[in-house]
Every structure is written in structure tokens, then in C-alpha cells.
């Protein structure tokens, strides 16, 4: 864990209620599947946001405005600083992916799939991506995934873009392993539909985000795990719904 003062480079709307924020600062220790915990002026607890992309000195986050904290974030301007705890969580294990991993992201669960796709690519594995949204106006990053060379499917619940339905309606594919992040009902549906092992990224309300308060613990087949420290990524075999 590091405590880094990032400087906002850009903060732009990329879809309905959805913003992409690029920050400059030290990203040492950050890995795909991890998250950062952001201190926002006027809010007591930090806000956990997944790592969407990073270079040695830039960090990209994508967040959906759902409450006062994320709304305040959406109003922040380039040049402003943001206090973050970085390097939080276990991250994805790419050693188990096989050569044809499937990435399944839903809404605000899409961002961590992007940096994961890049890491897999660097390891010589080309992944297929399924990106699920409610409607066309909420969709984002299809072009970015395609630019990485990923075979990319977009689903919308209302059918206004891509495949009508949920991510599971696009899952009849040939894959060696999968990674998924999104709302819990989606994770459950993916769990039931999937035919291989895989890794799931979970969310929980957090007090600290670095393992100290036991605020975020869940039960797994291998004992109690803190989503912030022993997660947020859990493997299919250990999940207890």
C-alpha cells in the first residue's frame, strides 16, 4: 500500500453518468484487479475505485456517478489533487488463464477488465471481451477493447445497442478460463452459466480498504476473507453465494 497525491490530468464524461479520470502520480505497486481508495473533500470514508489502466506515472479510473461522493468527483477539474491509497487488494491471477481467456464486465465492472486485457496481451494471450450495459447511452470502451485486438461483444439490456440481453446471452463462446466484474446479480448469472473455472471481482462497503477493520469480510469455502485485502478477486471454487 502506498499513499499517493495524484494530480488530475483529465476528467471527462464518456457515457451517461460515467466519467473517465486520468491522473498523474506514482503508480508503483499497482496491479490489474486491484483498486485505489480515494479521499474526497467533505466525505469521511474513502471511495474504492478499480484500476482501469496505468503507466509508471499515470493512472486511469472510470467511475459511475451514483451518490454524493462520485458526483463530487465528477466536478473535479484538471490540476486538482486527489489523495489515494494504492496497491489495494489481491488482483487477478493471470497464470491460470489458458490461452483463450474470456473477460466479462458489466457497467462499472468493465474498467478492471481493460487493464487485465492489456496484461494478458503482454503475456501473449488474446482475450475475448463481453461488455454489458443497460442501454446504448451507458456503453463505453468498446473501441478501446477492439483497439487491443480483443474480439469484443457488447450487450444491452434494452437492446438499444449490440446484443439484446445480459452478458450471459453472449457467453456461448469457446474459452479456457474467465474473469468477471460487475453487479452481484450478474456475477451469479455468470457463475451459473460458465463452463470453466474463473475469477470474480466483488464489491463490499469498506471502512479502511486495507485489511484493518474487518468491515468487508465475506464467507468463502476457504474461510473468512476480507474483500479489500484477501479479495476483491475470488476464484470460482471458493465462492459461497
Amino acid at each position: 500500500m502506498y499513499n499517493v497525491d495524484f494530480k488530475i490530468i483529465s476528467n471527462r464524461k464518456i457515457a451517461k453518468n460515467t466519467f473517465e479520470m486520468t491522473l498523474s502520480g506514482d503508480t508503483r505497486g499497482i496491479a490489474p484487479g486491484q483498486f485505489v481508495n480515494l479521499k474526497l473533500d467533505g466525505f469521511y470514508l474513502r471511495r474504492p475505485i478499480s484500476v482501469c489502466d496505468y503507466t509508471p506515472d499515470t493512472l486511469t479510473l472510470i467511475y459511475k456517478v451514483v451518490g454524493h461522493g462520485t458526483e463530487a468527483m465528477s466536478k473535479m477539474a484538471p490540476g486538482e489533487t486527489l489523495d489515494a491509497l494504492t496497491g489495494l487488494g489481491n488482483g487477478y491471477d493471470t497464470s491460470r488463464s489458458g490461452d483463450r481467456p474470456l473477460l466479462i464486465g458489466g457497467g462499472a465492472g468493465v474498467p478492471p477488465m481493460y487493464v487485465l486485457a492489456k496484461k494478458l496481451l503482454a503475456e501473449g494471450k488474446k482475450s475475448t471481451a463481453i461488455l454489458g450495459f443497460n442501454s446504448a447511452d451507458e456503453a463505453f470502451y468498446e473501441a478501446e477493447f477492439k483497439a487491443l485486438g480483443c474480439e469484443t461483444y457488447v450487450t444491452t439490456a434494452d437492446g438499444s445497442y449490440g446484443i439484446r440481453g445480459f452478458v450471459t446471452d453472449a457467453m456461448d463462446l469457446d474459452y479456457t478460463y474467465f474473469y468477471t466484474c460487475g453487479p452481484e446479480p450478474m456475477l451469479r448469472a455468470v457463475y451459473n452459466k460458465s463452463v470453466t473455472s474463473g475469477q470474480f471481482s466483488f464489491e463490499e462497503r469498506m471502512g479502511c480498504g486495507f485489511g484493518a477493520c474487518m468491515g468487508c469480510t465475506c464467507k468463502t469455502k476457504y474461510g473468512h476473507k476480507r474483500i479489500c485485502k484477501d479479495g476483491p478477486v475470488l476464484t470460482r471454487e471458493e465462492i459461497v453465494w
Binding site: 479521499k39 469521511y44 470514508l45 469498506m206 471502512g207 474487518m214
Partner: protein, 305 residues
């Protein structure tokens, strides 16, 4: 030169700053980012006889200037704490630690305290009779002077280390309970634990916390905690460990002026993992500015007559 030393029932601390139980785990997460030996001591996560998962999530909610928690005493149980956590903790923390113990019966309190009392690294036992997040135990022992005294007597009978009873603010007269603990032989009191509260999710029209209620802590509770430390100081002669919303060195001084001998820092560690270290480092500067040479001189210093 400023002197930050304080003494709790014969246990001398290099400074009065003690991370509070439940907000510092067993120290490891913090030891990764700074040398925690700069702290006066720290109070480890509340320990019970059996291992506990605690309450179902969500267990955390945000509030104005604070937070609610309904963790419900998640811990690996006394056996594992003694066999695994304490040896591991000794590697990162060389000073005597505060052992925070909880229970669901008088017997359980006595058994856990008796066992932890024998552990070399333990400097002081903090008996939590004030957890608002468990049912049939915890706080129910801390809400009447009689049961608080009963736990105190049971624990004192089987221990040799200083015993500090951790008191609940969810009572009509905290001073009466502190007095009952003192009369029953407590070496000191620790206060306050969290204040019961709740939040409702507007979209789901349901409580945010699965446990419905949780314990409020953070700067929001500081004035309440300070007032209670003040009242207890007027009622007892044993030392007080003050806590509730402490976030900076000035808050430490304020707590001590109200009557605390040492101060615990809780929620602040969660939002800023360096908070306790920063307070330790700030303290001498703030003392100098306020012309305080010996920190012990100011304990209860705001009480006149």
C-alpha cells in the same frame, strides 16, 4: 524539551497515543507502512473465546464526520490469538500491547482474561463491556453498574495485570458505571465505545447495515466522548483512557485536559493509515506551542476546584 511519557497503572508509555481496538487489527497492515514502535501502545481487535465471523455485510456506513460499524466482533478466537497472532505481532511491535477482550458471559470474560494475562507481551487488559453490535453479550454487561461490577470482579479475581473496563456511552449515567467498576477493583476505565446509530438507504427504503444498527465513531462523537471523560474524571480516582473521534494532537491534549491519562485513536486510522503516527509526531510541537513541558501535568487540567 517536552516529555510525552504517561503512566497507566504502573505501565509507562513513551507517549499517550494508542490505536483503538478494532481499527488496527493486530498491527500488521500498519507495520508494513511505518514502524509502529513509535506508538505508546496499541489495542488489538476484540477477542472472544470462540472464533467469530461477526455480522452479515454490509457492516459499514458513512455518516457526516464519521462512520457506523456493525462488524460484530469478528475475531479468530482466543486460542488462535495466543498461538498465532501474538507471536506474529511480537515481530512487529516490541512494546507491551493492550489486550482487548470481549465476552458473552461472565465466565467467558474471566476465562479469556485469565489466559491473556499470562501472555508476556500484554501490558494491560481492556475489557470490552460495551460492544453495541452483538446480541446477548457485549454492551448488555456495560449498561448497568451491577453487571459492570460483576464482570470487573470476575476478571480481577483471575488476573495480575492492570484491568481497564471499556465503557459504553449508550447509558444514562456513565459516571455511575465507572464508579461501580472502580469499587469492584478496576485499575482504570477506557471510554467511549461507539454510540448506537443507523442509516437508511433511500432507494431500497431499508437500513444500510444488515444488523440495522451500528456503532458511530469518528470526529462526530468527539464532543460527546470528551464530556463523558470529563464526568468520569470527576467521579473516579483511577486512570482513564479517553477516546472517541480523536484525529489530531490537539484532540489528545483536549482529552487529557478533560481527565484522560492516555488516548486511543480509532476511526482516524481507517481513513488515514498514518494518522496515529502523525499524531505522535505532532504532539511535541503542539505541546511546545501550548507551553506544556510534561504531558502528565495536564491530566484533568481543565477541572478547577
Amino acid at each position: 524539551m517536552t516529555n510525552t511519557q504517561v503512566t497507566l497503572s504502573g505501565l509507562t508509555l513513551s507517549n499517550p497515543v494508542i490505536p483503538a481496538s478494532g481499527t488496527f487489527g493486530y498491527g500488521y497492515e500498519f507495520a508494513e507502512i511505518y514502524d509502529i514502535n513509535c506508538l505508546g501502545s496499541f489495542s488489538f481487535k476484540g477477542t472472544t473465546r470462540e472464533p467469530r465471523f461477526g455480522n452479515e455485510p454490509p457492516r459499514i456506513a458513512e455518516t457526516a464526520s464519521g462512520m457506523l460499524n456493525a462488524v460484530g466482533l469478528q475475531n479468530p478466537g482466543i486460542d488462535k490469538v495466543i498461538s498465532e497472532e501474538l507471536p506474529k505481532l511480537r515481530k512487529v511491535f516490541r512494546k507491551p500491547v493492550v489486550a482487548n477482550i470481549s465476552g458473552f458471559s461472565i465466565d467467558e470474560y474471566a476465562e479469556c482474561c485469565e489466559r491473556i494475562d499470562k501472555e508476556e507481551g500484554v501490558g494491560l487488559i481492556e475489557v470490552n463491556i460495551s460492544c453495541p453490535n452483538v446480541h446477548c453479550g457485549g454492551m448488555s454487561f456495560g449498561t448497568s453498574p451491577e453487571s459492570a461490577a460483576e464482570v470487573t470482579r470476575a476478571v480481577k479475581a483471575v488476573t495480575s495485570k492492570p484491568v481497564y473496563m471499556k465503557l459504553s456511552p449508550n447509558v444514562t449515567d456513565i459516571a455511575a458505571i465507572a464508579k461501580a467498576c472502580e469499587d469492584a477493583g478496576a485499575d482504570g476505565v477506557s471510554l467511549i465505545n461507539t454510540l448506537m446509530g443507523m442509516r437508511i438507504d433511500l432507494r431500497h427504503r431499508a437500513p444500510v447495515l444488515r444488523n440495522v444498527t451500528g456503532g458511530l465513531s469518528g470526529p462526530a462523537v468527539f464532543p460527546v466522548a470528551l464530556r463523558m471523560v470529563w464526568q468520569v474524571y470527576e467521579a473516579v480516582r483511577i486512570p482513564i483512557i479517553g477516546m472517541g473521534g480523536v484525529a489530531c494532537a490537539e484532540d489528545v491534549i483536549e482529552m487529557m485536559l478533560a481527565g484522560a491519562t492516555a488516548v486511543e485513536v480509532g476511526a482516524a486510522n481507517l481513513v488515514d493509515p498514518f494518522a496515529s503516527k502523525k499524531i505522535v509526531e505532532e504532539l511535541p510541537r503542539v505541546m511546545e506551542r501550548l507551553h506544556i513541558e510534561n504531558l502528565t501535568d495536564i491530566i484533568g487540567g481543565a477541572h478547577h476546584g
